[in-house]
Symmetry: C2
Subunit: 183 residues, 2 copies
Amino acid sequence: MESPGTLDAHRLDGEQPSQADIDLYRVLSADISAGVAVVSTSLRKRDYAATVTAFLSVSDDPPTMLVSLYAGSRIGEAVAATGTWALSLLRSRHQGAADWLASPGTPVEGLLARVPYRRGPATGSVILDGSIAYFELRTVAIHPAATHLLVVGEVVALGGDAPGSEVPDPLIHFASAYHRLAL
Amino acid sequence: MESPGTLDAHRLDGEQPSQADIDLYRVLSADISAGVAVVSTSLRKRDYAATVTAFLSVSDDPPTMLVSLYAGSRIGEAVAATGTWALSLLRSRHQGAADWLASPGTPVEGLLARVPYRRGPATGSVILDGSIAYFELRTVAIHPAATHLLVVGEVVALGGDAPGSEVPDPLIHFASAYHRLAL
């Protein structure tokens, strides 16, 4: 039912958002909780991998997922160029790898020197060892949106824990920090 | 570093996914952790609202978000028709409202009879009382993807907790159930 009183609101009125608009959006949108994944691809025998929270399952039939990548990033350019990629769903014990692959200054050479992985059978993309689940995808559409690319892919292979194995204990991002579930 | 051995994998080889492909995808994609929100819109003096986990922040500049909605759903049709909508980020104490607004058989009349809300100042869309944050949006693109619509919107108003107020305690969806963070 409708409550009395009015909502505390900040409006974006101008043609261009102000710095205050952007700063407030950054603070409030950081309160979107999200699982953490690594998106990866391989291009000309080089591996690309980056931590992401902006991904989701779009559809079950056919199995379809989406990842939002900064258009000017190495990973965004590489995924757009290859047309095949993978998502590894991380556990809380992957926090070190998540931190590493989220840092802006990761090297092109030796990126995965300390990150244990295997290769996905369908795309050759890197899949982090011990992921809760992984998905390999073939891009079916790329939609530019503001500064980002919305990359939509159909699942071509997938795998994960056998039911009843290790407690999943997913890594969660919320309010600019990593968290665990109260399981 | 690359680990020895091969990855346990299930490939989707056919033109059409099999029922086994879809079932496995449902199980594994349920392991994507996500915050929980209510998406809402108002069309011809009627309010539409539904629980979603498939939403994300696309860009800070301009502030841009995305929600993925089943194309044949009431909420999908309503959001596509109005061009304005809102997202309310839920706390764990909103679990009852989240359950209610996620059920397939919600009534058109009386949908919000037991859900306390106010209206967003920019769009008139329903915002659940006590949300961690809320965002009102104007649609800038709709991309069909498999069974769903990817609705991209620019933020036109937003609000949320003052810093230092109530501990946020977000509602999280993981493995087909609701959870809380270990805070």
